[in-house]
Amino acid sequence: MEQTFFPNRARSLSGQFRWKYIPAVFWDAMQSFYTMMMLGFLITMGCLFYLWQWMNYRGIAMDVDQLTKQHASQLYRIELLEVEIDYLTRPKRLERLASSLMQLQPPEHPPRFVSLNQVREIQE
């Protein structure tokens, strides 16, 4: 006769789960070498998978970190160029250069822009 883990169980309660029998289930399973092998294999595979994922995560995190730093440094470079442009084209410098290199001076008498009709009126 096949031995069960529930020898004295009433028929009416045969489908009901009992926590106290869990250790017995494990003990029963441990009797089987193949089950243990399978369990060991699965746990090892799980650990390896976890490790693989963890390594992937760390690798990606490091890449992101590097890229973010590179991105920030490129942005700073662009900003530095902007500053340089604004420094080189500041009105005071342009005025000085225009005066010393091109002999240009601010207009003493600003140009007049009038329409032809207005000129006619003035002539009349």
């Binding site: 009105p91 007049r112 000129v119």
Partner: protein, 586 residues
Amino acid sequence: MIYSFKIRLLTIVGLVAVSLVIALGRSFQLQVLEGAHLEKLAQSQQQRTVVLEPKRGRITDRNGRILAISIPVKSLYANPKELESAQQTARILAPRLGLSYHKLKRKLSSKRSFVWLKRRIDPELAKALEKQLPKGIGFVDEFRRYYPQRSEGGQMLGFTGIDSQGLEGLEYQYESLLKGKPQGYIVEKEGTYRTVPLKGYPERPPEQFSLQLTIDSRIQHLTEKHIAQGVIEAQADRGTAIVMDSSSGAILAVASYPGFDPNRYRQFSRAHFLNRAVTSGYEPGSTFKIITLSAALSEGLISVDQNFDCENGEYKVGGHRIRDVKKHQQLSLLQVLKKSSNICAAKIGMRLSPHVFQDYIKNFGFGSRPDSGLAAEAPGKLLPAKKWTAVDHASISFGQGILVSPLQMLVAINVFANRGKLVTPFTVQHAIDASGNSLNQIDPPGGSESYRFGPKESKRIIEPQVADLVREFMISVTQEGGTARRASIEGYQVAGKTGTSQVYDPKLGRYSKTQYVASFGGFTPAKDPRVSILVLIRNPRKSLYGGVVAAPVFREIARKTMLIQKVFPEPSQPNDQESIRVSRND
């Protein structure tokens, strides 16, 4: 034999059991009793928090030209505990860093684990040092505030300290917006000095705001240039000029001479940092007469066709003598302003009751801060009406005995450019957040005061007819026979008023006979005002009068500002038809 075997077995079992108990006990001690402490120790060895200092927001002018920006630089630090030899390291680094050997050695011999060696070092030097850094020496990335326009707008912008905290000017005024909040994230340390970010890694740099000002760098430059020229030519102590958009109140330029370069602020004294356009008060003198006249006209106490007796240049009020520069007998209302008679202005002012007159003065914005967004605005000083004596009343009527800031005076003059409406000045067009959105209002968390940018509502303080009449008087001031002929510009009609006021000397306890403030405030084109400008020159020695020293500065600033704003000279102006060129576009 069996007995002996049992004893041995029991001894082994006992030893194993005792070892297990000891191991369990130790593990309980480590895991439970000291667990929290040891966990912290482990974390401090394996992890560290990296704090991302936000980059301070930039300040730009109305066209996006950078006025202030933070650029990345490197700072050198040392961990004296890790150094092999403080003496040798100091010998290597001292000449390269330009520091004294003994000072550096003292720093490197410190018992602390972190000391700054030199902050914000030259990028080229940092690059050279990076290749051969001794053990225990490292770099920290920091930001340095840089002002590409150098001294232009220095007093308005202010500057930041060594830790990037705003110390003066707009940098100080908008510190909480520009600085932003630092953000930290945790990294795990790896063998080869590598770090792996673990949690809280920020998706983008910490939030901070940038400010776009109403300032136009081109107008700022020419204002600075001409006020400097004006001060030098007049052999004066200093000068201030403000240019404002007449209709919106946007400040286009604020300049004070002598100025300072905020990049090298340590080389200047504190007096150079003051933005005298808003912080200092002066007695406005004759420019204030337009307020007196408009108040009396609004109250119906005087009329346009009325004549006033100017007492031949001398008039006694409350035992004090009031004098005019030139002697006048009878003057019309227009001539009172055109000839700038103190006696007639005092007579007109004294027709108003002190309380009514004070209400008008307050309505023009005197006695309260202009709320322009510039730092350290002064409210000025206005004696309460109930304390006015007859002399106070008379002298306030022609702009003595009242302290106003140059910006307050310009805002008051601008009322006549806006047909009786007072326009609140402003300096910040809008703020820009980290995502690039323009914001006109920011409500900081914690219920602190909110920031509002851009134009504000204007309010009517005098009737348009009165404002137009005073404006006509102001135009006459810059025409033949007026005190400010030198402010007139070919092709543009200018409205304005000169001012020459005495300076009160607290040491003497009376007005100085050698110190004066010469000023000219006005707007152009008079019929459709685009810009309002105030020029103020303190202690001119060449000439005392605003019409002589300040008016030419006004003319140069106004003329060039008009061209920048593409407002070209009108040919219809009299005496201006000689040099007309025809535009090919028309």
